[in-house]
C-alpha cells in the first residue's frame, strides 16, 4: 500500500539522492548505493528524471525487501520514497 501524496509530502527523508540527469539504470544503482547510508526504518528519497525509475524502484524494493512508500510527480522529475526494512 503506497501513501497518499499529502502524506508523502510530509515525510522527512533520512537521505535524499539526486539522480536527475542520469539515465536508467543510473538512478536504480544510486538508490541501491544510497540505501546503505539510511538507518533501519529510515526513509530514502530518490529524485529521478528517468521515467523508468518510478517503475523500477517499487520492483527493486519488493525484490530486496524494502518498503516502497510512493511517488510524487514534479515538473520534469519524480520523487520516489522507499523505507529501509533490512
Amino acid at each position: 500500500m503506497s501513501m497518499s501524496e499529502e502524506e508523502l509530502k510530509k515525510l522527512k527523508a533520512n537521505k535524499v539522492v539526486d539522480a536527475r540527469g542520469t539515465s536508467c539504470p543510473g538512478p536504480l544503482l544510486a538508490a541501491k548505493r544510497a540505501m546503505s547510508e539510511v538507518p533501519l526504518g529510515g526513509i530514502l528519497e530518490v529524485l529521478s528524471s528517468d521515467p523508468g525509475t518510478k517503475r523500477d524502484l517499487p520492483i527493486w524494493a519488493k525484490k530486496v525487501g524494502h518498503e516502497f512508500l510512493g511517488v510524487i510527480e514534479e515538473p520534469g522529475y519524480w520523487r520516489i520514497f522507499v523505507k529501509r526494512k533490512k
Partner: protein, 130 residues
C-alpha cells in the same frame, strides 16, 4: 552472460543489464568469448568504436549517450563491480588467440575453460548470449 560480441552497442546493453542486476542484489557472471575478450584488452577497451548495426548512426548515438550522461560501457561495468557481485571470466582459447594474459585484460577476474562455464550456466537462473 556469455559475451561473444566486441561491439560497443552490445557491450553497453551488457553493462546496463549487469548494473540493473547488481542493484537487484543478483549475482552476475560474465564469460567473454572471441571479440568479447578482444574488447576488454587494455590497448583496445577505450579506443573501440565498433558497432554491430546501423553504423551510419554511430556518431549520433555517441553524442546522445554523452548528452544523457550515460558513462562508457566499461565505466558502467566497473561501477557494477564496485557495487555488487560481478565476476568476469575470459575464455582461455580466445585469450590465447589474442596472445594475451590476464594482465593484458581490463576488469577480468579469471581465465577459464568452456567446461567450467557451461557448468556455471547450468546453475544460473538467467542465461544470456550477447
Amino acid at each position: 552472460m556469455t559475451v561473444m560480441s566486441g561491439s560497443i552497442d552490445r557491450l553497453v546493453g551488457m553493462a546496463v543489464l549487469a548494473s540493473a542486476a547488481v542493484s537487484m542484489d543478483m549475482e552476475v557472471e560474465i564469460f567473454l568469448q572471441l571479440w568479447g575478450v578482444y574488447a576488454f584488452k587494455k590497448d583496445v577497451i577505450k579506443k573501440n568504436m565498433n558497432l554491430s548495426e546501423f553504423n551510419e548512426l554511430g556518431e549520433k548515438v555517441a553524442s546522445r549517450l554523452k548528452e544523457l550522461n550515460i558513462p562508457p560501457w566499461y565505466e558502467m561495468l566497473k561501477q557494477a563491480k564496485e557495487t555488487g557481485k560481478v565476476k568476469i571470466y575470459a575464455c582461455s582459447t580466445a585469450t590465447s588467440i589474442w596472445n594475451a594474459s590476464k594482465e593484458d585484460l581490463e576488469l577480468v577476474d579469471e581465465i577459464i575453460g568452456a567446461g567450467e562455464w557451461v557448468e556455471k550456466m547450468s546453475n544460473a537462473k538467467i542465461n544470456l548470449f550477447i
